[in-house]
């Protein structure tokens, strides 16, 4: 009788652990935004060549640090309409390549305490695809936690020609490297 009780207790314990692990897996928290911001600046001469996109679609997983950003090239707004037209038609060829995206991981997500407000330095690594050309990138930034909502801010540079973008003025009026700044405030 004693051995039956012991076996039953063991089985309950095992089942309890399994249920607990299933609950942990299903509690994976995902933060998302559809209104993040990306700025880019490729000024190479006197004339400012800069634009902003306010419809950045991004998600990240709290437990694993998996992160994605998606942006539509035609969503970049310039001060100068002619510059915007040239950017889409002559450089980014946005009819053929309408999207740019990044898929990767926040490598040190475990160092972020999601229960405590603050600014945490992060390192992001993954694949950035622009103009249909994927390239491995690694950059640093910060993850800011305020009122339970995270925001990711980061800045990095990309070499325009690495993405198969060609054009007359690259290296002259247009800088060889474009500075990209990300600012995404996520919802729970």
């Amino acid at each position: 009788m004693n051995s039956i009780l012991k076996i039953s207790a063991f089985l309950f314990l095992v089942m309890g652990l399994q249920i607990s692990s299933v609950n942990t897996a299903s509690a994976q928290k995902v933060y998302a935004t559809k209104t993040g911001q990306i700025f880019f600046n490729a000024t190479g001469g006197i004339e400012k060549i800069a634009a902003i996109n306010n419809q950045v679609d991004s998600k990240f997983v709290e437990t694993t640090g998996q992160i994605i950003f998606g942006v539509l090239v035609k969503g970049f707004k310039f001060e100068n309409q002619l510059m915007e037209d040239h950017f889409n038609e002559n450089y980014m060829e946005s009819t053929q390549f309408p999207k740019a995206d990044f898929k990767g991981y926040i490598k040190n997500i475990k160092e972020v305490d999601f229960t405590k407000e603050g600014t945490y330095p992060i390192t992001i690594e993954g694949t950035l695809t622009i103009h249909g050309t994927p390239q491995k990138v690694e950059t640093t930034g910060t993850l800011q936690l305020k009122e339970g909502k995270p925001a990711i801010v980061g800045e990095f540079s990309v070499k325009i020609k690495d993405y198969g973008i060609k054009g007359l003025y690259i290296g002259e009026k247009i800088a060889n490297e474009a500075k990209i700044k990300v600012n995404c405030k996520y919802q729970n």
Binding site: K34, T35, G36, Q37, E47, N54, Q55, D57, G70, V71, L72, K74, G75, E79, N80, Q81, L82, M83, N88, T95, P98, K99, N183, K185
Partner: protein, 137 residues
């Protein structure tokens, strides 16, 4: 001599015109989607077309003025303070995400029907429409 003056004048005027067009006119004159003829479509249908075949949908709608109608699923503001709307169905996998040009709150509420004119810039998890203005019907 007169011919030379004439040539210099033409070159100077052309350069001045070019400078004005590139650096002045293009800064002050942006595309006005509201004055363009638009493609009229239901929000559900637009998102369904992008879900079914994104390449074909891009060929039809990318960078085009669209007038979309549907039910408001969500109202919010973007990081610049502009009004954003999700139009479609609350149980749908993909809807239409609209950014209005205005920061002024709209009178319509969630669950009500709305018509917006804007420009379709493609699709991410939702179809994206920017530079939207609410159409009064």
């Amino acid at each position: 001599m007169t011919k030379l003056i004439y040539v210099i004048a033409v070159v100077a005027l052309t350069a001045l015109g070019g400078y004005y067009y590139v650096f002045v006119y293009s800064k002050t004159h942006h595309r006005n989607v509201q004055s363009e003829k638009s493609l009229v479509i239901q929000a559900d249908s637009l998102s369904a077309q992008f879900q079914a075949n994104e390449k074909n949908a891009n060929a039809l709608y990318l960078n085009k003025a669209v007038e979309i109608s549907g039910t408001i699923v969500n109202i919010d503001k973007n990081q610049e303070g502009k009004i954003t709307l999700i139009i479609g169905r609350s149980d749908s996998f993909s809807n239409v995400s609209v950014t209005l040009i205005s920061t002024t709150p709209i009178t319509q509420k969630i669950g009500e029907t709305i018509t917006i004119k804007g420009v379709c810039t493609g699709a991410l998890s939702d179809v994206i429409v920017t530079e939207g203005v609410v159409k009064l019907i």
